[in-house]
Symmetry: C2
Subunit: 237 residues, 2 copies
DNA sequence: CGGCTGTTTGAGTGTACTCAATGAACGTGG
DNA sequence: CCACGTTCATTGAGTACACTCAAACAGCCG
């Protein structure tokens, strides 16, 4: 009986995320060469951690499905959500520098990831310049994103932070084929608050205010944007 | 008459920053191979910008001397200092992803940088795995650093932020052979405030409070730490 | 010296926080 | 399937920290 771990694998070249994920921008011949990048898949249930702070680094993870949060902890127990990640995005870049992950990655819903051993990334990107370039871009993108979050945390008020957060979330979902105006939030008020540097009560109050103003319709975690322009105006004024 | 741009160049292999900068961890034979990385040097005067947001990306910059700040701007004019960089640190990583720099890098004092054309980095790191690894680590380090700043901005109070800032600054200066307790601040209160998500008055008041408490001695930009343990306690409690 | 930039300090305000109670949704087990 | 406990969300009341506005002061350079 032929049956192995990889029997249900989908090659990068055949993955429906190839326009979004590692293979972005690669030629078809290059695409085939990176099919060997993914060693295995891994399934996670809600609340399971993909890796945690201090764990030995060995691989990056490409999200196939589901949503994650990453968080860092301070010595005295406080923690900070550093991002929410969705299909096609890469987790684990923080682990490269010290050979151990420096944050926790937690699934916010049942999820599946592609395991990409980092030594394969290094080997292959020496041979495939387009992959090398792509890896550099992924890391650079993360740096630019982080700088945007710093701007948000350092200089914006609660309403602006939430507006930026929602617009960003919707834009990324839209890029994945979902509605531009409707979203089922995978994260709690507390997690949103942690990400935005606010307390959960402030997140809740601000959402309520947006509802009063006719900008949003929020029913628990089901959220609909009624006036996207109003959100944009919040950010640019 | 023989006289060219590179006459006063110092090779990476001979640079006194080699324990701190790009060549970190390379073997001597590898070291020689990366001597070609630096195309030129560039001198900057105080307040000069090394690159600015939107400018075409072509090179990374290794700081040889002097201190820089990087800042990002929001659409409505506010800006946020995203970091202060000193000798041996690398500027320009944000430019890789979109082929243009996404922030401004400004010299806080007269400075000198090594210009490292990025295509050379990519070419050479395909041939020298240790360099490839090093580039990945530099980018990963920046990501981890940014996450730390997010933790600071998202969850710490003014006194803690300033304590973290000072400890980090002193630790980096110490690694460069300077005093662990004394520093001439190269940045204004406003710049510190922008970095820490505080107003300049709050920075000033908090420094004054640290003086009253006997933790610091501050005379304008000349700062001396009298009680380093007290600063550490601020952070961990 | 005057003008300028940067810093300090004060007074009053406001935004987001803490503490607290209520209510809604969800999952588990009887 | 319903009852229960638990988690999560909302809303209120009062507070605190950092903000704004303002004035005075120090240091620096031409």
């Amino acid at each position: 009986m032929i049956c192995n771990k990889t029997s249900n694998q989908v090659a990068c070249s055949a993955c429906n995320l190839r326009e979004l994920c590692m293979p972005v921008g690669l030629q078809s011949d290059e695409l085939e060469r990176i099919d060997g990048l993914v060693s295995t898949r891994r399934r996670l249930r809600r609340r399971e951690t993909l890796f945690h702070n201090g764990e030995k680094f060995s691989a990056l993870f490409a999200i196939r499905s589901g949503t994650f949060k990453t968080r860092v902890a301070s010595e005295d127990g406080r923690d900070q959500v550093t991002g929410f990640q969705m299909a096609g995005e890469i987790l684990g870049l923080d682990g490269i520098v010290s050979d151990q992950y420096s944050c926790d990655a937690v699934a916010l819903e049942d999820a599946q990831v592609c395991v990409i051993p980092f030594d394969r990334v290094e080997t292959l990107s020496r041979e495939v310049p387009a992959l090398q370039r792509h890896v550099h871009q992924i890391m650079s993108r993360e740096i630019v994103r982080d700088h945007g979050v710093m701007l948000l945390l350092g200089s914006m008020r609660a309403e602006e932070r939430l507006a930026v957060f929602l617009l960003n979330l919707l834009q990324r979902l839209h890029a994945r084929g979902f509605s531009r105006s409707e979203v089922l939030l995978r994260m709690s008020r507390e997690e949103i608050g942690s990400y935005l540097g606010l307390k959960l009560e402030t997140v809740s109050r601000t959402l309520s205010k947006f509802m009063e103003d006719g900008i949003l319709d929020v029913q628990q975690r089901q959220l609909r944007v009624l006036d996207e322009q109003a959100l944009h105006r919040m950010v640019n004024s």
